[in-house]
């Protein structure tokens, strides 16, 4: 992805957010069209010599005028004017003032808080954020999330419809973001990051740009009055620890497991930045799942080799996570770390004591971990059974290849 494209994408998000804040979310569709028009005009018109001194201001005014002209030709104009006192003439002058930098980032964050409503399904919040705040097209979103365009559009539409129904007046204009929604906002940013990080998309650039969008929004949030909390700082640390290792997760053949990654390709400056944010995140009096997950990532990043990993620290961290943010996936990872620290037998005992939800216990992930642990604990027939079940359930060729390699390694050792 080139930098011009991302520049326009970011401007798009800012402009949609500021116009939404100024004229109301019920006009979202027309706002998006207007901003698109303004950006297209800029791409055609601007050359290095003719770029206006305040590009954002220019784009804003152009988009706003387009928005206004559409209103004026519309039959519903009178109705609109009656509903929105903001369109009376002296208000329009006010609306024509180009936004300031702080106002732009504030609007972006307000929009983020608005869309992170628990009543909107999480997958819709994600698509809505990517489209409206990060400026990705529906087809670009579909590519990045590995879903169909139709599905992406459906998810987007659900969020849009909800927002339109909820905010039929200009009610959001002066609404302050609700602090109680910060947890949802952080979750959406984490999901956004993870979608990029865990993606099996063959192009590194494509995987990275979702991660960078998440980091960009999280940094913006941490500098705002609504998001400067230890949790947000810890989440930023977690993101930097992971982005440092994103290159090493893939090679020309596909996914590379942690144990086999070339640690010299881990980006040390990102790790350093992560450590700084991690230490900043301890300057409050609360701990969150992001703190502990970042602590786990830090343990891996600091370790010179897989063999030298401080598994004791990782196991302890998972024990802490089980208390503050219990999740079946954490339990599975707890078991994997336990296998390194105390052996596969101990890990199997831990898993036997848990009661995983159906979506996990019938996933390839669960069977693959069980099989791996059973091979290591020399329960060969069970291991083979679970290996077959894992392979049946994979949904990606990359994972299938990875599992094949892994099971084959154990089988060879048995011969």
């Amino acid at each position: 992805m080139n930098s011009i494209e991302s520049l326009y994408r970011h401007e798009y998000g800012h402009l949609v957010a500021i116009l939404t804040q100024r004229v109301g979310v019920q006009h979202l569709v027309l706002i998006q069209d207007s901003v698109q028009q303004a950006i297209e005009k800029a791409i055609l018109k601007w050359t290095p010599n003719t770029t206006p001194s305040n590009p954002t201001g220019w784009l804003y005014l152009t988009a706003f005028r387009f928005f206004l002209s559409e209103q004026r030709t519309s039959k519903q104009k009178n109705h609109l004017l009656a509903q929105n006192p903001i369109f009376t003439d002296n208000q329009i002058e006010k609306l024509e003032e180009p936004p300031l930098k702080k106002e732009l980032s504030d609007s972006l964050l307000r929009m983020l808080f608005l869309s992170c409503d628990d009543k909107i399904p999480a997958e819709s919040q994600l698509v809505f954020t990517l489209k409206s705040l990060c400026g990705f097209s529906i087809s670009a979103i579909a590519t990045r999330l590995l879903i169909s365009e139709e599905n992406a559009y459906k998810r987007y539409g659900r969020a849009k419809l909800f927002l339109k129904q909820q905010h039929t007046s200009a009610s959001i204009l002066h609404n302050e973001p609700q602090p109680s929604r910060l947890a949802s906002v952080l979750r959406v940013l984490y999901v956004l990051f993870t979608e990029g990080y865990l993606s099996s998309h063959p192009e590194t650039a494509i995987r990275k740009d979702l991660c960078f969008e998440a980091i960009r929004l999280a940094l913006l949030l941490s500098k705002s009055e609504w998001g400067n909390t230890p949790e947000c700082t810890a989440l930023i640390a977690l993101m930097y620890f992971n982005i440092a290792r994103i290159q090493a997760r893939h090679d020309t053949l596909g996914l590379v497991l942690l144990a086999d990654q070339d640690r010299s390709t881990w980006d040390q400056s990102s790790i350093y930045k992560a450590l700084e944010y991690l230490n900043l995140s301890t300057k409050g009096n609360s701990i969150s799942r992001y703190h502990v997950e970042a602590g786990i990532a830090a343990t891996h990043c600091i370790s010179p080799s897989f063999a030298a990993t401080k598994w004791e620290n990782i196991v302890k961290a998972y024990e802490l996570l089980a208390q503050i943010a219990p999740s079946p996936l954490h339990t599975l990872n707890h078991a994997i770390a336990t296998a390194e620290y105390r052996g596969a037998g101990a890990a199997l005992i831990l898993l036997k004591a848990t009661n995983p939800p159906h979506w996990l216990s019938c996933s390839y992930h669960w069977y693959a971990v069980m099989s791996d642990l059973q091979y290591r604990n020399v329960q060969i027939s069970e291991a083979r059974e679970n290996a077959a079940k894992a392979l049946e359930r994979t949904n990606s060729v990359h994972i299938e290849k990875l599992l094949h390699l892994r099971f084959e390694r154990y089988e060879q050792a048995l011969r």
């Binding site: 941490s222 400056s269 700084e276 230490n279 602590g295 343990t299 961290a317």
Partner: protein, 113 residues
């Protein structure tokens, strides 16, 4: 003679450009681990760590933190007693806190009436 009181203010570069050493990173990691351990042990003692929020008041403006973007971040403080500034210096020089690059500790005597 009675001891003087000194405040030692720890500052560190937030955007260090020098390549960090493995030892630096190890000690940053260790300090996080210690912090986390306090929660694991259910002992909440924040010691002399400073909150991330703050305000800088100048004659013409008031700016609220956190000051993540500042070049130097005040990471903590400690109080110590010593007979002289020389002795306080010796104590601080021996502490592991100054070991990492990009960190400075300012020592100021607290004058009590």
């Amino acid at each position: 003679m009675s001891d003087n009181k000194y405040i030692c203010i720890l500052r560190s570069n937030s955007g260090a450009c020098e390549k960090p050493s493995a030892a630096d990173m190890e000690s940053m990691y260790a300090s996080y681990q210690n912090w986390q351990q306090k929660f694991a042990d259910n002992i909440l003692d924040m010691g002399g760590a400073l909150g991330s929020e703050g305000t800088i008041v100048r004659s013409d403006s008031v700016k609220d933190g956190p000051f993540v973007e500042l070049k130097e971040v005040i990471g903590g403080y400690m109080l110590l007693t010593a007979t002289s500034l020389e002795q306080a210096k010796a104590v601080i020089k021996a502490s592991p806190m100054v070991a990492s690059a990009g960190t400075s500790i300012e020592i100021r005597q607290i004058n009590t009436p």
